[in-house]
């Protein structure tokens, strides 16, 4: 292993600019003459907008223009579409009404943008927005996903019962038959709480229009600028694709929330052309709370059937998924193909049947959030398995091992074909590190201090690098899910990598450079990673679903193969040897069996001067591209074990011990991977103990600031013990599986399994706040007294 190649814990090259304030985020972009946008947003969760009177607003000093949904309609700027078609079990297509970028008719959640005011300054725009007189006809709102289907309140004309789809996956009859045979059935009601993503950098957009060239440019906080350009041109009619440039510069965290196209960047781009100057908007934090797509929000009934020996026979699930007021870009696939397809977990389950009803409520749209469907599936499976083991009196680790998938490839009953893994290896290693055998002693010691100590397992599996394109297309995806790369070797031998992946915290500028360093034998300081600009990178699918390593780097690797092949040809001419005799190692081409060699930079220079090879046979230059469409998902898996101590007097749960043993396949940079695991666990612990978005009955978001929405902080977390096992991924040449979401997927059931172990009963939901735990402790005491 070289110092900067694959497997080296190289410090992140991008961090110096981030931590010294030298990053260039969207809000840092300022264009001469720019104006500012402020959005007037619905104060009501459900209301018809009768009229927007802008006469007072237009008199506010510094107000340049006011636009409403009617202006968008006039210019045929379309609504935001749903990007994944789901069919209901009766075969009918989903009901997926578009989301107008400014309200046309009805506002359907608090925060739905009604009008935009363009001002000379931010203050003028805001003052103008406040001066708008909006005449509402307020309707009753429905925020409870369990009541919306039967509610007399209808959000959309085209969505009867406020339902997007009633979908199913798996074999209903076989599952029912297995349940009939079962000796034991474990049944749970599970709530997966609604979360607010809270990227550190709020969303922002700067739209600009060049009347000379007719090109619109938008700087925006996007995880996938090419997809944003495609949606804005093909579906929204903002500008033709070749006249629209989307730039996502440094982006400060996404967690899924910056995948989607939002009204604000569309309106800023369109309005820039209308007013003839650049238009900038940056969200305030509370604006983020009420407009960024939220995450999760499921209510599930789940059942697990076992035989007398504790062998799992079948699993059955009914889930209601809250989509919020509109179907956001990928919202419809999250509770279906990213959720139910993972319900087999790490287990060999002969029959699975899942039903998912996706419903609309007067709340912010819900879409993918770190893990996207897999945390929901993992929570269902890992809670069921843990509770089942306890009910059967089988040690939860033993129960899991008894039911693990052991032979690969393994076809589950819910689409997925697991390609490689060793689940017992991760579990055993985690048990060793945490000293599972010594837990009883630790529990007794805690009891002497008045604390209830519990231990919880989570042996999760997830699926990254959603693919292949033809398969996802057959399931309803509106796009392909490949990735592109271009390797540009400069005459002096340094290298620019153009990638369709997008880094917004992942450290691609380091890890991608490590791949190049490994392959070409040059230092990582000789490599630049270019991403996030549709004028520089031809096309790409962006970063989400932990796909950039497995898919994005594989595309780079394939382009590097081509560069290497061509460089070898050139080297053979330089060395006057047969191409078959040329070896490439440690950055130099040599003639095997001799000491004749040329370095990679020498070959690069010769490629461009083109003096020493026949350009009729070999084209000058050294630049290659590749598109990579994976053959399968990748399947990271692992075991997290959490120990918690509860103060029964106050209900406070303290996470006191955490071991994570993950199988991410081949790891490029263990330090960055460990950081991803830490961050993922923190978000998972946040979901399990602290975070929840709360709406009141009228549809106001009660938790719209950090005063009420509780983010995890360092003092909520212990020092994690992080380790790995390795089974290389067979579906890509690098053996990479992906690590970005694993922590957030694994953590919540580990926490709740530990709390319920400590409590001695299963009566707790997420988030397990002190009050909820205190109530659960009292319930436990009441039960014991019976």
């Amino acid at each position: 292993m070289s110092k900067t190649g694959i497997g080296a814990p190289v410090r992140r090259l991008e961090d110096h600019r981030f931590i010294t304030g030298a990053g260039n985020y969207t809000d840092d972009v300022n264009i001469a003459g720019q104006a500012y946008a402020a959005f007037a947003r619905s104060e009501h969760a459900h209301a018809s907008v009768r009229k927007v009177d802008a006469s007072k607003a237009m008199k506010v000093a510094g107000v340049v223009a006011v636009f409403t949904g009617a202006d968008l309609e006039k210019d045929a700027i379309g609504p935001l579409p749903a990007g994944w078609m789901i069919h209901s079990k009766d075969g009918s297509p989903m009901n997926a009404p578009g989301h107008p970028c400014l309200v046309q008719g009805k506002a359907r959640y608090v925060g739905d943008p009604i009008a935009v005011v363009i001002g000379e300054t931010q203050a003028a725009a805001r003052a103008g927005a406040e001066a708008l007189e909006i005449d509402y006809d307020v309707h009753e709102a429905v925020t409870d996903m369990m009541k919306t289907a039967s509610s007399p309140i209808q959000l959309h004309d085209g969505a009867p019962k406020n339902t997007c789809y009633e979908w199913e996956l798996g074999d209903k009859a076989a599952t029912a038959a297995a349940f009939k045979q079962a000796k034991h059935v474990t049944k749970l009601q599970i709530i997966n709480n609604r979360l607010v993503p809270n990227a550190m950098e709020p969303r922002s957009a700067v739209g600009d229009y060049d009347s000379g060239t007719g090109v619109s440019t938008v700087y925006t906080t996007s995880q996938n600028p090419h997809v944003a350009r495609l949606v804005m041109s093909a579906f929204l009619n903002v500008a033709p694709e070749h006249k629209l440039r989307v730039i996502a510069p440094d982006v400060g965290g996404g967690f899924g929330s910056k995948i989607y196209v939002y009204p604000e960047e569309v309106v800023c781009t369109w309005a820039a052309k209308k007013v003839g100057r650049a238009v900038k908007w940056t969200a305030e934090r509370t604006e983020s709370f009420i407009t960024d797509a939220h995450g999760r929000d499921h209510v599930t009934t789940a059942e697990l059937a076992t035989d007398e020996r504790g062998k799992i026979l079948a699993l059955r699930v009914h889930t209601t998924a809250n989509l919020g007021a509109y179907p956001s870009l990928f919202a419809t696939c999250v509770p279906t193909y990213l959720y139910a397809t993972l319900l087999s977990g790490q287990y060999d389950i002969p029959a699975i049947y899942a039903e998912v009803d996706a419903v609309y409520t007067n709340t912010v749209p819900v879409d993918a959030y770190r893990g996207a469907g897999r945390p929901e599936a993992t929570f269902v499976v890992e809670r069921l398995v843990e509770v089942c083991a306890r009910e059967l009196g089988i040690d939860p680790a033993t129960f899991r091992k008894r039911n693990f998938v052991k032979k690969f490839p393994h076809q589950t009953p819910v689409i997925m074909m697991y390609d490689a893994g060793d689940y017992a290896a991760s579990l055993n290693k985690a048990c060793d590190i945490i000293d599972y055998k010594g837990f009883g002693k630790r529990k007794r010691e805690a009891a002497r201090r008045g604390k209830l100590r519990g231990i919880g397992f989570s042996t999760y599996i997830e699926a990254c690098g959603i693919a292949p394109s033809a398969a996802v297309g057959s399931l309803g995806a509106g796009v392909g899910l490949w990735e592109s790369a271009e390797v540009r070797v400069n005459p002096t031998g340094n290298v620019e990598i153009l990638t369709g992946s997008h880094s917004h915290g992942q450290g691609h500028e380091t890890t991608f450079a490590q791949l190049v360093s490994e392959r070409l034998g040059i230092g990582i300081d000789q490599v630049s990673i270019v991403h996030g600009d549709t004028d520089k990178v031809q096309f790409g699918m962006g970063t989400y679903g932990s796909r950039s390593g497995a898919v994005g780097m594989t595309a780079i690797s394939k382009a590097l193969d081509k560069v290497e092949a061509k460089a070898k040809k050139i080297a053979s001419h330089l060395l006057e040897a047969a191409e078959a005799d040329i070896e490439f190692k440690d950055g130099a081409f040599s003639v095997s069996g001799t000491d004749k060699k040329v370095t990679f930079p020498e070959v690069a220079l010769n490629a461009y001067v083109a003096h020493k090879f026949p350009s009729s046979e070999i084209e000058p230059g050294l630049k290659e591209g590749a598109f990579h469409d994976p053959a399968n998902f990748t399947f990271p898996a692992g075991c997290h074990i959490c120990e918690i101590e509860i103060d029964p007097e106050t209900g406070v749960s303290e996470v006191v011990n955490w071991v994570a043993v993950d199988d991410f396949g081949i790891v490029i940079n263990p330090m960055i991977v460990e950081g991803q695991v830490h961050g993922g666990i923190a978000q998972g612990v946040g979901q399990a103990l602290l975070e929840r978005a709360v709406y009141d009955d009228s549809g106001q978001l009660v938790t719209a600031s950090y005063m009420d929405y509780c983010m995890p902080r360092a003092d909520n977390l212990p020092s994690f013990k992080v380790d790995t096992t390795v089974t290389p991924c067979p579906s890509n040449p690098l053996g990479i599986k992906g690590c970005g979401e694993a922590g957030a997927i694994a953590a919540p059931p580990a926490v709740i399994n530990a709390i319920t172990d400590a409590l001695g009963h299963e009566n707790i939901s997420m988030p397990a706040t002190p009050q909820a735990v205190w109530q659960a402790v009292r319930k436990g005491m009441a039960k014991a007294a019976e």
Partner: protein
């Protein structure tokens, strides 16, 4: 934020005269006022910044009374050697307010003038029997905190310092709101001769004392004395973070922990 005039007087007298007219607000540490203004929920036409007035600063022990200037920052109270030695319960309370940013800016006078129902300092003032000194008079803590965000302060009245009589024993036990880290329930307990005080913040609309606990501790100053005493949940706050019942329970737990810590 809306536009406003900004004044930075160098005397209490000038500050008082500047607040006499219009919708002017005093700016102490600004940890509540400024966020409220940024959210455009408050729109004073002028801010009178008290940071330039020297007499509002400083910490001094005079006999058995600790004098703390109204503009003294939480971080300074928390780290001050005199406070840490003479009244460690107060230093530790100040060190637990908000976060480092809030402690670097927020002030004693600003906190008690605002009288947020979940603020920490009102519990210390009431729990120690402090005297609030203004440019006009002296007000006993028992008379100062009159209701939710309400105090005995009149228009143009400016807190100059707070006098804390030194107790023999004192401690503050706080149960943090997990999100805001204000007190979900905070209980300050002190004993000074026969004067025993139990002051509760966070639980109700305004800081309050618990006479039944004070009497019980008067008989025997021990956590055990409080075991059978409960506060009435009917008078307490209920919100998404904690029901009144849970808060009532926490008052008991925190009071016992405070007594244990004295």
């Amino acid at each position: 934020m809306y536009e406003f005039a900004y004044h930075r007087p160098n005397s209490v007298r000038k500050a008082a005269s500047l607040t006499a007219s219009g919708e002017a607000k005093l700016l102490a540490g600004g940890q509540t006022l400024l966020p409220t203004m940024k959210q455009r929920l408050a729109a004073p036409d002028a801010l009178v910044d008290l940071a330039g007035i020297e007499v509002l600063q400083g910490i001094e022990l005079k006999g058995r009374t600790l004098h703390i200037g109204a503009m003294t920052r939480h971080a300074d109270v928390a780290s001050n050697a005199t406070v840490r030695e003479a009244l460690p319960a107060l230093a530790s309370l100040a060190g637990g307010i908000g976060d480092p940013h809030v402690r670097a800016m927020g002030t004693l006078g600003g906190s008690i003038a605002n009288n947020d129902p979940a603020a920490d300092y009102p519990a210390a003032c009431l729990g120690l029997g402090a005297t609030i000194v203004t440019n006009k008079r002296r007000i006993a803590a028992d008379d100062f905190f009159t209701g939710m965000f309400e105090t005995a302060l009149e228009d143009g009245e400016i807190i100059t310092k707070v006098l804390f009589p030194l107790p023999r024993r004192a401690a503050y036990a706080k149960f943090d709101n997990p999100a805001s880290r204000y007190a979900l329930v905070g209980v300050f307990v002190s004993k000074r001769g026969r004067d025993i005080r139990v002051a509760v913040t966070g639980a109700g609309p305004c800081v309050f004392r618990v006479p039944a606990m004070e009497e019980a501790l008067g008989r025997r100053f021990s956590p055990k004395s409080l075991e059978d005493i409960s506060v009435d949940a009917g008078d307490l706050n209920s919100d998404i973070h904690a029901s009144a019942e849970y808060r009532a329970h926490l008052v008991g737990v925190m009071a016992r922990r405070a007594v244990l810590a004295t």
